[in-house]
């Protein structure tokens, strides 16, 4: 005797939540090449948009160039989220094969390529984290050591290009200057995919405090990175 299903709208918590928000468009465009004559060899290579377009016509060389440009960054984000080299490499493979399968998924009108790529990478890594956590019953990665990892940083990545490398340094500086409690909530949200409620449970702080820290942390970060954001938005370098 089969069970009878009683539908209830949106009852399953495993669905992506929130669903994609239509009509929200990020401004600006992605420019990872430096202008002027200060560029390294990387700056002479094609822009991301062109490479993605070439991928759409089956250009495997375009995939190679995008891979060489961003694989270390994608791997680093995956590793930061998953704290496992093998799983992080799975994320790298998945992300780049997805670019290959559907390069048109990136719409330059909706924002910079690097933002989009990082969003895809983070989503894939968090999906994997949730899957692994469910499967292995792994408990929190709260102890994930930012400073310890920072000491193992390989430093500049020449493939990223001068401008993106400078932006990376600016972001790291801005994050380091945040008060530790604010930095912590942002990292738990971004790299561990926790909700504000979950952050409150994990840290033992009241929910209101967590919300305030998210707001203040984001505002400080926005102020510290205003120049970076404006440059990108105005089509400037990086």
């Amino acid at each position: 005797m089969r069970e009878t299903l009683v539908p209830e709208p949106r009852a399953d918590a495993s669905l992506p939540n929130p669903l994609p928000l239509a009509g929200i468009r990020a401004r600006g465009r992605d420019v990872t090449r430096a202008d002027g004559g200060t560029a390294r060899s990387r700056e002479l290579s094609p822009p991301d948009e062109e490479l993605m377009a070439r991928m759409g016509t089956g250009g495997i060389d375009a995939l190679e160039q995008v891979y060489d440009r961003y694989s270390a960054l994608v791997f680093s984000v995956g590793l930061r989220v998953l704290n496992d080299r093998q799983l992080a490499e799975d994320v790298v493979q998945e992300v780049f094969l997805r670019l290959w399968r559907g390069p048109s998924s990136y719409d330059p009108a909706r924002g910079r390529f690097i933002s989009w790529l990082m969003s895809v990478t983070r989503n894939r890594a968090l999906d994997e984290l949730r899957r692994v956590t469910r499967r292995r019953r792994l408990e929190d990665q709260e102890e994930e050591p930012t400073l310890q990892l920072a000491s193992q940083d390989l430093g500049d990545d020449p493939e990223l290009g001068l401008v993106l490398e400078e932006r990376r340094r600016a972001v790291r500086d801005a994050m380091t200057r945040l008060p530790p409690p604010q930095r912590r909530v942002l990292e738990l949200a971004y790299f561990s995919g926790l909700t504000q409620v979950e952050i409150a449970e994990r840290t033992g702080d009241p929910l209101g405090t967590v919300k305030t820290r998210v707001r203040l942390g984001m505002q400080r970060l926005r102020e510290a990175l205003a120049e970076v954001l404006d440059e990108a938005e105005n089509g400037g370098p990086g």
């Binding site: 089969r2 009878t4 299903l5 009683v6 539908p7 709208p9 399953d12 495993s14 669905l15 939540n17 929130p18 994609p20 929200i24 600006g28 995939l63 891979y67 960054l73 791997f75 680093s76 984000v77 930061r80 992080a88 790298v92 493979q93 780049f96 094969l97 997805r98 290959w100 399968r101 048109s104 998924s105 924002g111 910079r112 690097i114 933002s115 895809v120 983070r122 990892l149 920072a150 940083d153 390989l154 500049d156 990376r168 972001v171 790291r172 971004y190 909700t195 504000q196 409620v197 919300k211 998210v214 707001r215 984001m218 505002q219 970060l221 926005r222 990175l225 970076v228 954001l229 990108a232």
Partner: protein
């Protein structure tokens, strides 16, 4: 809404940390407030910058070769697309049935156990198609009815070809479909064949649907887009095989089978019964 509260919501939304009710509030806000929408877009840009704060590490150099080799394999697979059937005439349909039968025999030889049991449903479809062909030959339905029937048969035959091709592909990627609380013990698999450039869902023991409902397959492409790709009603035992007509570039990272009201649907409504995360090596 206080300015601080507004900022908390926008920042939290961009970070993906809000509860569902708060997220809904933000979506309502930005739908009617262009300034809020711009602020949110800026927060989104800011959030993705956080990724740049990670220490740089390098993956195994051999990973590059693996990724590129996989990409080349997929590129070859894309070139091996199945030809579309021409307009269906009874004779052509009969020939197609013969082709399917050959493929079906290959499938049976190449598969064992559960796969063989799953494939039994195909035989029923073939027999059903043959009966319909007999009806056409006998001139029972009217002309319009014949065309409609022929189209159904053509579709069924195409599906059978695809299912056979997927199941007999030695490199088929198989992912278990896991039941949710609403699955009541249902199970299944998501089968993807790069060579056939097709995917098939094989499910069993699906709960009985309320009147006016169907099962709908939703695919998450990993780029924050959910796409409805097929609807179906299982047989009396809750078993079904569904061909997903996707393009090579639309491969999902997650698949959901959702019980929904029949008819067009632009969003996920109803409980998820089975779900799978698609990983590839």
């Amino acid at each position: 809404m206080r300015p601080d509260e507004r900022e908390e919501l926008l920042a939290g939304y961009a970070l993906g940390t809000l509860s569902a009710p708060d997220a809904t509030d933000v979506e309502s806000l930005v739908a009617t407030d262009s300034t809020a929408a711009e602020d949110l877009a800026r927060y989104h840009e800011l959030v993705e910058l956080i990724a740049l704060s990670v220490p740089m590490r390098r993956a195994d150099p051999q990973l590059r070769q693996r990724v590129l080799a996989a990409a080349r394999r997929e590129a070859r697979g894309r070139r091996l697309r199945w030809p579309r059937l021409r307009r269906v005439l009874p004779a052509a349909a009969a020939l197609a049935i013969a082709v399917v039968a050959v493929g079906w025999g290959l499938s049976l030889r190449a598969t064992v156990g559960e796969l063989r049991a799953e494939s039994a449903a195909l035989r029923v479809l073939v027999q059903s198609a043959a009966k319909r062909l007999d009806a056409i030959d006998g001139g029972q339905p009217g002309a319009a009815g014949s065309r409609s029937l022929a189209l159904q048969i053509a579709t069924a035959l195409q599906d059978q070809q695809v299912i056979t091709a997927v199941q007999t592909d030695p490199e088929v990627e198989s992912t278990n479909l896991e039941p949710t609380l609403y699955g009541h013990g249902a199970g299944g698999r998501y089968l993807r064949s790069a060579a056939a450039d097709a995917a098939v869902i094989v499910a069993r023991g699906l709960p009985q649907l309320p009147v006016g409902s169907v099962y709908r397959v939703w695919m998450d492409d990993g780029f924050s887009q959910l796409m409805a790709s097929a609807t179906f009603v299982p047989d009396g035992s809750g078993n079904v095989q569904v061909v997903l007509r996707t393009r090579g570039s639309d491969q999902p990272v997650r698949v959901y089978i959702v019980a929904s009201a029949s008819g067009e649907s632009q969003s996920v409504e109803g409980p998820v019964v089975l779900q799978a995360t698609i990983l590839r090596r």
